[in-house]
């Protein structure tokens, strides 16, 4: 390859909003549920039914728009996007084309070359479609409309990204912002955050953009990174062979690590967009907008600063804890119960993160309650258990959210501080290890550590380490 190429990437990110009810009816948005149980005449497109906008959807969209520095269209409209497909019960999707709620924003990402702004072209509100289930056994397709009408926002970026790293950084940034706003849990695997990648390549220095393709079916950050790399290579190869890139939609197959064309621009549909006459324009008053602005929660940057100031945490701790809204929530709730922020931080950063890594989970998957972690920290502080035992108990809290006091009592893990019992055990240990006693008396401090360790072992880790140290020293120097 003699020429130098630049990759140009823009993203369309769909985010499922965390409203309790759907965008145009009162049905539950809860994930799962038997097929077609969260449905009504509106979200199944029954004749005569009419949509009514869920106000919370507008508020979430506004919150995301404000947090991403967007302009707000205080007069916006819904449009119908017409296309036939069975997952779309009305055969049109209610979306926004002509006047989306948010426009012209940006977020800042960190890159190797320093901070960089990624432009946001627009954010619009729309409804999700149902789910088709293809029954190969019976050779038929079934439709589940539980997801039909679940509210989405689509965040359309400018083509400002140049590498997979930038794309991931941008997505991470969006995810954090939206999670902090409580507008969505943004889980790629469950589909509550979905990204379509628009990618083109051009020679470095070229003024014009190359022909782009759109890639769909990307459901993890890793898949996105692999798809970008794959598509970049594919397009460069085409150009190097003197062929053209065709504007088309491609489906990424992460198992095969390759993509295939779904449809080209030539057979692109005409969606015949027009304003939905069943919905009145959304008029966002200055007061409403201000109220949403006033309710904006603390976002990551602010939290990061506060953790260092208020809790005196090092930057490193603060970054990890605030790297997930859920983790930060657990941290704050635990500190509120037991104080000792650094201690809480240590448990989360060291033990919790280790266990997550072992189980290949994300901080979002943490399920234990702050009460139980706080109780555990209290027990350590009061010398009710020692650290070794505490780590075992934490694993139980992590996995099953057990009440540490009950668990310790049940398993008999309480710390043994009884002098008589300790003394008897230590006397046996000393009698069994004359060499170590000899070594210590010859000035080898380390030998004492061995004897303490043997004692702890004999006591199944439950002995009060301070007391053991004290008694061992006393008996050795007698």
């Amino acid at each position: 390859m003699t020429k130098q190429y630049e990759t140009v990437i823009g993203l369309e990110v769909h985010v499922e909003l965390a409203t309790k009810t759907k965008i145009f009816c009162g049905c539950s948005t809860e994930f799962g549920g038997a097929p077609n149980t969260h449905t009504c005449p509106v979200c199944t497109g029954m004749p005569g039914s009419l949509p009514v906008l869920n106000k919370q959807v507008v508020e979430y969209a506004l919150a995301v728009g404000l947090a991403t520095n967007c302009g707000i269209n205080q007069y916006c409209k819904f449009d119908r996007k017409n296309y036939f497909y069975p997952d779309n019960p009305q055969n049109y999707q209610i979306s926004q084309l002509y006047l989306p709620i948010c426009h012209d924003g940006w977020v800042e990402i960190e890159t190797a070359a320093g901070p960089k702004r990624i432009g946001i072209h627009e954010i619009h509100m729309e409804e999700d479609a149902g789910k088709l289930i293809h029954d190969e056994w019976d050779d038929c397709s079934l439709v589940d409309y539980n997801r039909s009408g679940v509210p989405l926002i689509e965040i359309v970026s400018e083509p400002d990204m140049r590498s997979a790293d930038e794309v991931i950084a941008y997505l991470e940034k969006l995810r954090l912002i939206i999670q902090y706003l409580g507008a969505s849990d943004c889980k790629l695997q469950e589909g509550s955050m979905r990204a379509d990648v628009n990618l083109s390549v051009r020679e470095v220095g070229a003024a014009q953009l190359g022909t782009r393709t759109e890639m769909k079916n990307l459901n993890s950050f890793k898949a996105i990174a692999r798809a970008i790399e794959g598509e970049r290579k594919r397009q460069i190869e085409l150009l190097e062979e003197g062929r053209r890139v065709i504007q088309e939609t491609r489906r990424w197959d992460d198992n095969k690590e390759s993509s295939h064309a779904m449809r080209s621009k030539e057979d692109a549909q005409d969606y015949r967009y027009f304003p939905d006459p069943d919905l009145t324009p959304v008029v966002i008053s200055d007061e409403w907008l201000q109220a949403v602005r006033d309710r904006q929660p603390e976002l990551r940057t602010e939290k990061l600063a506060r953790y260092q100031q208020e809790y005196q945490l090092p930057l490193y701790d603060a970054e990890i804890l605030t790297g997930s809204k859920h983790l930060a929530d657990i941290f704050e709730a635990t500190v509120a119960l037991c104080g000792r922020p650094k201690e809480v931080s240590n448990w989360l950063m060291v033990e919790a993160m280790r266990l997550l890594k072992e189980k290949e989970q994300d901080p979002e998957d943490l399920t234990f309650s702050p009460e139980n972690l706080a109780a555990l920290i209290g027990m350590v502080e009061k010398n009710m258990i020692n650290r070794t035992v505490a780590k075992t108990v934490f694993e139980e809290i992590f996995a099953h959210d057990v009440d540490p006091q009950a668990y310790v009592a049940e398993k008999g893990l309480g710390m043994v501080s009884d002098e008589g019992e300790l003394r008897r055990t230590i006397e046996t240990v000393i009698a069994d290890n004359p060499q170590s006693v000899e070594d210590f008396r010859n000035g080898k401090e380390k030998a004492m550590g061995f004897l303490v360790g043997q004692t702890m072992r004999a006591m199944k880790g439950k002995a009060d380490p301070a007391k053991v140290n004290q008694i061992v020293r006393e008996l050795l120097t007698k």
């Binding site: 005449p41 199944t44 497109g45 029954m46 004749p47 005569g48 039914s49 009419l50 949509p51 009514v52 906008l53 119908r80 017409n82 036939f84 069975p86 019960p89 009305q90 055969n91 049109y92 439709v143 005409d270 015949r272 967009y273 027009f274 006459p277 069943d278 919905l279 009145t280």
Partner: protein, 518 residues
């Protein structure tokens, strides 16, 4: 002659209240009339005989218990077949919905039921309300009770014919471009299309969503005011519904038009208007003038742009509204097809009639990329200008008066061959929908063929009371007449019970029509 059937809805309601007439008795009288007249008139798609009698008994109990005291309690009514009725076939007179039984009831119908209405059945209409003659129905052509060789008008032709032939005491219709007012005019009954947003559209199967309104059809203005008062409601399920505090329409039933300013658009009296219709309209204006109204002619601009703007907007909305009828979830699905795309294509090709297909194609065209600005946006701008022209007129006038249609009811089969001519027949009614105004038709005479002529009264937004007052004052000058077929049938009628009918006591024309096709 059964004088019960000649009563207006409010008169019958009064007799039921005073226990002079029983609710079941009234329902049976209406069902008997239906049995006698339907073979000739074909106003209903579905008659729910068993359900009507069940409702009648339940309503009588509530009246006896003092739970229902309204003026319409116990009065039998009919509903146009584009309003959903839970458990009762709702077809829009289209093959594509030949088997559709809704799981819920339209808000306007619920409001009627709460007021003690007894719903007799569902009336025939132009398929999906597209047409001006009720000939585009997939389930038979409704005849004009005044002359069975003529159309009843449309699209609410079944509702108007049923009221006219005494097959119900009042009916609900829907009006997108004149579909209540024009057939009311042709059938010699009274109908109101209220201000857009007054009656909930929830459960009304949409044709042109931004223009559709449900309204009452009855023998006189008093009935229409009472029914409109009952069905009007602010409904959170309909985003275009408007909260109003002035829905006490019966308070406007006053025989007094002194000082009322009435304008007649010269554009409504020009070329294309039948001479006999013109004479009757001007005579009606004179009656109001004699009663003290100030009547003058004026120029309402943009009249000629209403029809093209209407057909662009209504068809555009319809092309999208009707896309849900695809054979996937309910309704008709073609018997043979290969794959999804072909299933859509065949189901819709076989399920929709030619007029519906014409408008879906027209609507799809005007919304397609490259044409959207030139047609759809331009039509929307025209709509706004028409509204402005009316705003200006209503600075000077309380009521605008004119004909409802250029002629009386055409003969059967005369209209469909020339759709453009049929569209032009909507010229006086359509701009009212584009501007969202209330409009009413009141009978004002007959032509030399004995066919009814209707007077149209148009009010400013939310000023139904003005047209109700003018209409009420006018109708005091003449007596309501029902057609001969209605009176003749009554002489012989007596409810025979649902003999020979289906076991569930619901009769419909679906099987009958399907048989003919095969």
């Amino acid at each position: 002659m059964n004088s019960l059937l000649e009563m207006t809805a409010v008169q019958l309601g009064g007799k039921i209240k005073s226990r002079e007439v029983g609710v079941v008795e009234a329902a049976k009288a209406a069902l008997a009339q239906i049995q006698a007249v339907e073979p000739a008139v074909c106003a209903y798609v579905t008659v729910d005989e068993a359900g009507a009698l069940r409702q009648a008994e339940a309503v009588q109990k509530k009246i006896d218990a003092g739970e229902l005291t309204g003026p319409l309690a116990g009065v039998p009514a009919a509903v146009k077949d584009n309003m959903c009725t839970e458990g009762l076939l709702t077809t829009c007179s289209s093959k594509i919905l030949y088997n559709f039984v809704p799981t819920y009831t339209a808000e306007a119908v619920l409001n009627l039921q709460k007021a003690g209405a007894v719903i007799l059945g569902k009336t025939n209409m132009d398929e999906f309300a597209m047409g001006s003659t009720t000939e585009t129905s997939a389930f038979g052509v409704t005849r004009n009770p005044w002359n069975l060789e003529h159309v009843p008008g449309g699209s609410s032709g079944g509702s108007c014919a049923a009221v006219s032939a005494n097959e119900c005491f009042y009916a609900l219709g829907s009006d997108t471009g004149g579909s209540i007012r024009q057939p009311s005019s042709f059938c010699g009954v009274t109908g109101i299309k209220p201000t857009y947003g007054t009656v909930s559209r929830y459960g009304l199967i949409a044709y042109g969503s931004s223009l559709d309104q449900i309204g009452p059809i009855a023998k006189d203005v008093s009935d229409c005011a009472a029914v409109l008062e009952t069905i009007a409601s602010y409904d959170r399920k309909d985003s275009t519904s408007i909260p109003r505090k002035d829905c006490d329409f019966t308070s406007a039933l006053v025989d007094d038009v002194k000082g009322m300013r009435i304008g007649i658009p010269r554009d409504y009296l020009g070329e294309g208007l039948d001479g006999e219709v013109k004479a009757a309209i001007l005579q009606a204006a004179k009656v109001l003038e004699e009663k003290g109204a100030v009547v003058e002619k004026f120029d309402l601009s943009l009249v000629e742009y209403a029809i093209p703007a209407y057909y662009v907007i209504a068809s555009a909305e319809a092309s999208s509204n009707l896309s849900r009828f695809d054979g996937v979830k309910y309704g008709f699905r073609a018997k043979e097809y290969e794959g999804l795309h072909n299933m859509y294509k065949r189901s819709r090709s076989e399920g929709f009639g030619p007029e519906v297909k014409r408008r879906i194609m027209l609507g799809s065209f005007v919304l397609s990329s490259g044409y959207y600005d030139a047609y759809y946006l331009k039509a929307l701008r025209t709509k706004a200008l028409i509204k402005k022209a009316f705003d200006k007129a209503f600075e000077k006038y309380d009521v605008i008066l004119g004909p409802a249609s250029p002629s009386t009811a055409p003969g059967l089969g005369e209209s469909l061959g020339d759709p453009l001519k049929m569209y032009l027949g909507d010229i006086y009614t359509i701009s009212v929908n584009l501007a969202g105004l209330p409009g009413m038709t009141v009978p004002c005479g007959t032509d030399s063929k004995g066919l009814p002529i209707g007077l149209q009264l148009i009010g400013d937004c939310f000023q139904e009371k003005n047209i109700i007052r003018a209409g009420y004052a006018f109708e005091q000058s003449r007596k309501y007449e029902s057609p001969k077929i209605a009176r003749d049938a009554q002489a012989a009628a007596g409810y025979g019970g649902a003999q020979g009918g289906p076991a569930d006591g619901i009769r419909n024309r679906i099987a009958e029509t399907a048989g003919k096709e095969a």
